[in-house]
């Protein structure tokens, strides 16, 4: 087990916290997507840490999970961005429901 607390663990926790904060406080959908991606990176960081702490070399399974996760996150975010583009460029009238208060 690593002797001193691995700095990246704190980084992962920080990413998760900031991601959650961003998701909750931001109203603009793009910023919220950013926050979600940051949260995602935090999760991937956790996975990699878990992989690294296994004795006997990095564990390939969490790595595969992260890779799949990244691809899914990117494709979902791309789709989200397309949605944001469409919702923003529509004529302002019915663009945004008064959903975020």
């Amino acid at each position: 087990m690593s002797s001193i607390p691995d700095p990246f663990g704190l980084a992962a926790a920080a990413l998760l916290a900031v991601g959650f904060y961003g998701f909750v406080t931001h109203r603009h959908p793009l910023r919220r997507l950013l926050a979600i991606n940051i949260f995602g990176n935090g999760v991937f960081m956790t996975l990699i840490l878990v992989a690294r702490w296994m004795p006997g070399g990095p564990d390939p399974i969490p790595h595969a999970m992260v890779l799949t996760g990244i691809v899914i996150a990117v494709s979902a975010t791309a789709f989200g961005l397309a949605l944001v583009r469409r919702s923003m460029t529509q004529e302002d009238g019915d663009r945004r429901e008064p959903d975020d208060d």
Partner: protein
């Protein structure tokens, strides 16, 4: 080395915080791209080379350019909307407290984790030779947990269909050659860089078998090349897709499923490769995946059904 790691970790934390609380959207996006690069670096440090490549290529690169181009579209549509006021004071304060507690719990949980040695990973490493590929991550991706990879390709396809349905493409109109807009350097960029990038991409796909790399990273780099050509007005997004293009798009998934279904009666299990043919099959699958991923990511970027070269 821990000093470097701690600095890197601190940098990541600060970048993330600044990116989220950036006053305006553009600054947020730029900081997010830098964060992506820093993450790639940190994952390299955490000896996960494949992931560093993937993060750099997909997370920072492709996602970055997507974010920037979306921002530009938003900028043109509704200039002032980037920096609208955040939620009420109470919400923000509660969110801060809540997320710090959450972060703290996760940190405590992580460090309290007693990671044992009898893990699926150890077993994976042990039976690596059966997998026909000696790069562990690719072996897991294509052989041990190939089902996940297959489904993931499905996700990519669905996201693409979704993006197409929205019909708000980033397509750049075909270039009509008025030099006032275009700088001469663009053609240099296209001519010099594109072959190199494509070469690196193909190399990455091939290198997946024995070292860091693989279909995803290679595919992403190839997509990057495509984006470069788009930006340099050599390619443009087009509405009607030919059968061939759609074929290439679904090549990855179909190849995977067809191979799995065909082999099932003999091998007794879905996606169980005969020992002899393992390597060949995996390479075939790897390349078809790479092609599909590259094309999907490119079309995800343009948001159109197809891309077509510019007839100069």
């Amino acid at each position: 080395m821990t000093l470097f790691d701690s600095v890197l970790a601190l940098l990541i934390a600060i970048l993330a915080w600044r990116s989220v609380t950036a006053p305006d959207l553009y600054r947020g996006i730029v900081l997010f791209i830098t964060l992506g690069l820093m993450l790639a670096l940190s994952w390299a440090r955490l000896d996960a080379p494949d992931l560093a490549l993937a993060e750099a290529a997909i997370g920072a690169g492709l996602l970055g350019i997507l974010l920037l181009s979306t921002w530009r579209v938003l900028q043109r549509a509704a200039p002032r909307q980037g920096s609208d006021e955040p939620a009420s004071y109470a919400v923000r304060w509660l969110a801060v407290v809540g997320s710090t507690v959450f972060g703290g719990t996760v940190a405590v949980a992580l460090y309290g984790l007693q990671v044992g040695s009898d893990r699926a990973g150890a077993e994976a490493l042990a039976s690596l030779d059966l997998a026909g590929i000696d790069q562990p991550v690719t072996a897991v991706l294509l052989n041990f947990r190939s089902y996940d990879t297959l489904l993931e390709m499905g996700v990519l396809l669905m996201a693409l269909i979704g993006a197409l349905l929205i019909r708000s493409p980033l397509a750049y109109e075909p270039w009509h050659g008025d030099t006032a807009v275009e700088s001469p350097l663009m053609s240099v960029l296209a001519k010099v860089f594109t072959p190199i990038v494509v070469l690196v991409g193909i190399f990455l796909v091939w290198a997946g078998a024995y070292g860091p790399g693989g279909a995803f990273q290679g595919g992403a780099v190839l997509a990057g090349a495509g984006v470069l050509l788009l930006l340099c007005r050599r390619l443009y997004g087009d509405a009607d897709a030919t059968l061939l293009l759609r074929g290439l798009l679904v090549l990855g998934v179909t190849a995977f499923i067809v191979i799995g279904l065909l082999l099932m009666p003999w091998q007794g299990a879905f996606l169980a490769y005969p020992p002899g043919l393992v390597y060949v099959l995996l390479v075939v699958i790897e390349f078809s995946l790479a092609v599909s991923i590259a094309l999907s990511l490119l079309l995800l970027f343009t948001g159109t059904h197809a891309v077509r070269a510019v007839r100069s």
